[in-house]
Symmetry: C2
Subunit: 409 residues, 2 copies
């Protein structure tokens, strides 16, 4: 069975709408995939994530491998049963987190953060000890204990977790390395791809889909070659990973190099863009032909007091912890139909709760932000089907509120 059906394409871009079919149900695409890093979407329960409009979440193999361990999760019947989520789950390969801690700046570069501001102190205890043909040895960010992940290990862990979509083990090449390193790393990632597919064909759950990962850094020829290699493999879907560039223009350019060569025979394979999810990035990614996205942004910025609002001049976010909202009787976002906004909590109240570090505030902003992104993706899906993506994308880029335009569904 083909796991992906394209139901509509946009004549003016590479965008497509479709349905990703998994053992735990369908995912209409393009879709955003919230993070459930440690077997939970932070601050929410599964039924709430569903109610917000999500069909799939992403669990992090690196974190779950180290704690509580895939064996324990397997004893509970797999990640779905462990976390009480009976819809599709995608797991990453663990490679991103292993390498981002070793190189120290991959996540920062992808997110364009200045060196040193980074992912927070705690994970810095983790460290790559050796990257070899066979795999990677590293220290746990939790207790410094030594572990190894090989392509086969990563697939075995993901098999134990029982995710619907597994990602192959790759080296997430950082931005600061030279072209030569990137070329050698990408070639090794391609060899790891074959090892992952071989392992999965023999041992993997038959219903689990496997996505290959396109690397190649910011070098067009390497990206194109990587995309062609992954497209020609027996993987069910294609993820685009690694460092995509120093700014948004480069990120879109590099992503475009990859999707440009994923047509033809690989056209029907679903495409996932790893770790990208700012509002404008989601719109651009859809236009470039991406089907699914995962990113910590909506949930993480929510826990830092940021609410998503239709304001491109403020990167679609306002800091509700700011003193200027002390007296504000306005809702988080005027007209927003999300549960946090319809409950009527004024910005001044949320500002007080945030200042007091009340959990209720972190939760309300998580809810609002995920609802905002869910409506954005729904708008894009509807627009592709209706042949109006150009207008919808323009309106959203100019600050139209997602989900609030009249539209046919």
């Amino acid at each position: 069975m083909t796991p992906f059906t394209i139901t509509a394409t946009d004549p003016g871009s590479r965008a497509r709408a479709g349905i990703l079919r998994t053992a735990h149900g369908d995912v209409p695409t393009p879709a955003f995939v919230p993070l459930a890093t440690k077997a939970t979407v932070k601050a929410l329960e599964p039924h709430e994530v569903v109610a917000l409009g999500y069909d799939m979440v992403l669990g992090n193999t690196y974190h779950l491998f180290l704690d509580p361990g895939h064996e324990l999760i397997a004893r509970f019947g797999g990640l779905h049963r462990f976390m009480g989520w009976n819809r599709p789950i995608i797991t990453d390969s663990g490679g991103f987190q292993v390498f981002s801690m070793g190189h120290g700046t991959v996540a920062d570069e992808i997110k364009r953060r200045p060196p040193g501001t980074a992912t927070g102190g705690r994970e810095r205890a983790g460290k790559v000890l050796a990257i070899e043909e066979d795999g990677v040895r590293f220290r746990s960010y939790i207790d410094g204990s030594e572990h190894e992940l090989r392509p086969e290990t990563s697939m075995a862990v993901q098999a134990a977790l029982g995710s619907d979509v597994a990602l192959v083990f790759d080296e997430c090449t950082p931005f600061h390395v030279d072209r030569d390193y990137t070329a050698r790393s990408t070639a090794r990632t391609h060899r790891w791809l074959e090892r992952c597919l071989t392992w999965h064909a023999e041992h993997g759950p038959p219903e689990q889909l496997v996505y290959g990962i396109v690397q190649g850094g910011v070098h067009e020829d390497l990206r194109v070659e990587s995309a062609e290699t992954v497209a020609a493999s027996l993987c069910h879907g294609i993820a685009i990973g690694g460092s995509l560039g120093a700014d948004k223009a480069q990120i879109y350019e590099v992503t475009g190099w990859a999707t440009a060569v994923l047509g033809g025979r690989a056209e029907g394979k679903p495409r996932h863009l790893l770790g990208i999810g700012e509002i404008d990035d989601l719109i651009a990614g859809v236009e470039l032909g991406i089907d699914t996205f995962d990113c910590a942004m909506p949930t993480r910025v929510g826990r830092h007091g940021m609410a998503l609002v239709p304001d491109p001049d403020r990167r679609w976010r306002i800091d509700l912890g700011s003193a200027r909202f002390r007296d504000s009787d306005e809702p988080i976002m005027e007209g927003c139909p999300c549960p946090a906004c319809t409950a009527g909590h004024p910005r001044g109240y949320l500002r007080y709760l945030l200042k007091s570090r009340e959990l209720t505030a972190l939760r309300l902003l998580t809810v609002h932000n995920l609802a905002f992104v869910a409506r954005l993706m729904a708008d894009l899906r509807v627009a592709i089907a209706a042949g109006t993506l150009a207008q919808t994308a323009r309106a959203l880029r100019e600050g139209a509120a997602p989900g609030l335009q009249p539209q046919t569904s």
Copy 2:
């Protein structure tokens, strides 16, 4: 209008069931009142607190006075509108927190904690500067700034908050002071009672009920005199406060001294026991004739990973963070109808989330614990009405699960 109607009394104890009528609705009693210290029940939204079976919450005047300030809350239309809770609210007078920081051990003694283990470092920045006939000067626990609360100020703050039940300003006498100090303090508290009632009669919201507070430490004659003084005043209801004793037996004895003299003309006044709320204390308090209780216990222990279970040998709680639950596929509590249990999350999953400090776990345990206490109180109300309190209280004390016995409602 009498704010309280007794609908049933228990022949074997002082227990009574009733209805407390407030401007924002009725509260069937006996009832537990969850804390909304900083204008939110921690981790929950108002509609969730209602769904868990609660009609009234308690806001802390001390915290709200210091931050965000009663003026700001008044500009939002009062505490109900500020926090989105349109049911009854009781506010304390601020006295307890002011004094517990000054004396340093009031809360500890009421909770029978050893000296020095206490309320946590942060609030220790607060300090009583002077206790005088006119009122109390103290330093803010937030920034060390100097403030004053007088009986009139406390009532004015509570008037601005617009609570349904205001408590008069009292000195919460600690356990370590001598009888002479307690006698003088209690006499001053009685003078403050009159000043509060005078202020409220002239300036208070007409629909706001005012509860006097019985002090007197652990001295029978002082407690009796205080109860008689408060009962004879024009207050609408009566709260019992201060240090109640060194152990549970003494706490019940001291509480009983007070309620024994609250019959007669004061029989119809609702009685609130301040800051007490362990499971066995709630049962005993109801038998002693208490109508409402507030306590941080269910929500606070939940955030520390403790789940309430019908197990008197473990003080009705288990520590789900314990390693022994690592592999447990059991629910939090077998047969529990609360949303956290019916969602089916196994103890092993919650243990992992707690260990990972995931907000979702704090929330699930808050939900479970509040649901547990709500069912306990419902059982007691039903039993009083049915004339079966003795049997119900015995069963609950022996480990029967609240809400799970067959009963007529």
